[in-house]
Assembly symmetry: C2
Homo-oligomer: 170 residues x 2
Amino acid sequence: MSEGRSGSGFGSESLLFLTDEQLRQGIEAMFFAYRGFTADPDRILAELAYGRAHHRALHFINRAPGTTVNNLLSILGVTKQSLNRVLRALVEDGLVDSRVGTLDKRERNLYLTARGEELEQRLSDAQRIRMRAAYKEAGPEAVQGFKRVLEAMMDSDMRRAYAELRESAQ
Amino acid sequence: MSEGRSGSGFGSESLLFLTDEQLRQGIEAMFFAYRGFTADPDRILAELAYGRAHHRALHFINRAPGTTVNNLLSILGVTKQSLNRVLRALVEDGLVDSRVGTLDKRERNLYLTARGEELEQRLSDAQRIRMRAAYKEAGPEAVQGFKRVLEAMMDSDMRRAYAELRESAQ
DNA sequence: AGTTTATGTCAGCAATGTTGACATTCCAAG
DNA sequence: CTTGGAATGTCAACATTGCTGACATAAACT
């Protein structure tokens, strides 16, 4: 098909660095690891009748307090209608505070309430514990490689968003 | 909360290797990268009115032809009812062949048809192209680290499934 | 033979993605 | 200043894909 070159007697023993089999292993590793990556927060969220979408919203509002709906959905990569449902629940439940913009009244500036911060902490902690263990097991140089490959795998606009977050962080 | 130790004046400048900020960057990298990772197949699938679930089924049936529904759902980590819906569509559309087991007639052995293989190739190629580019950009040692961290991030049973797939592959 | 266990299918519900229609606010052209 | 269009966010309805529950069939155990 589109670009087929599937291990047809050349890739596997050539001097080229990447066989299709190696790439497939990477694909599967990504799939299995992402499940592990979300498993711990998912368990907490299930108890509270929330989902991954709520976690993502909490995470990025915490990361950039005062952010607007528009900005948030460009980072999350979902439609505003989809995000709206999640935000509405979080606001109703008193985890997020949505304030009408001062400069532009069409905008809503989003903040976590104390309870919102509390849940965000709980979720992030769960995820960090696993991440910390994985980093420790793999070692520092592995972590550098890990991040480098992930960054190269992003779409270019997400790479920009990611870089901005890193700068703003500290 | 459960294990809170969030950059409270100690983690960030201690001799410890992992600050909360570093961990958070890893978390966000994982989130953005996974979106890139699935973006290309998603576009193809959308044209065909299929979803990620169909892609995953095709991938692992291709990987282990003759596998059973039971085995497949343990790898995919979904319920059999959820998988069944997807498989039914693939069988009806002539991409997957479901044969009653010879030894145990309760089981169904799953195979890709020619058309199924064709679509699987198309999807995998799209994903491999991006993966290949990311690997190339990041370099060989980075890839080693990438895989090591991902593997450490999996749940233990998934790590086993992953290892088995690698062995069976070759 | 009869109960229990395993495998897979069918039906209906929940979470979360989508598009479409709309209200409010801002801004720019006249 | 007003008016028309663009931007922002909300509400409604639908599709995909998780889920649980109920069931049919085959195997296994007693």
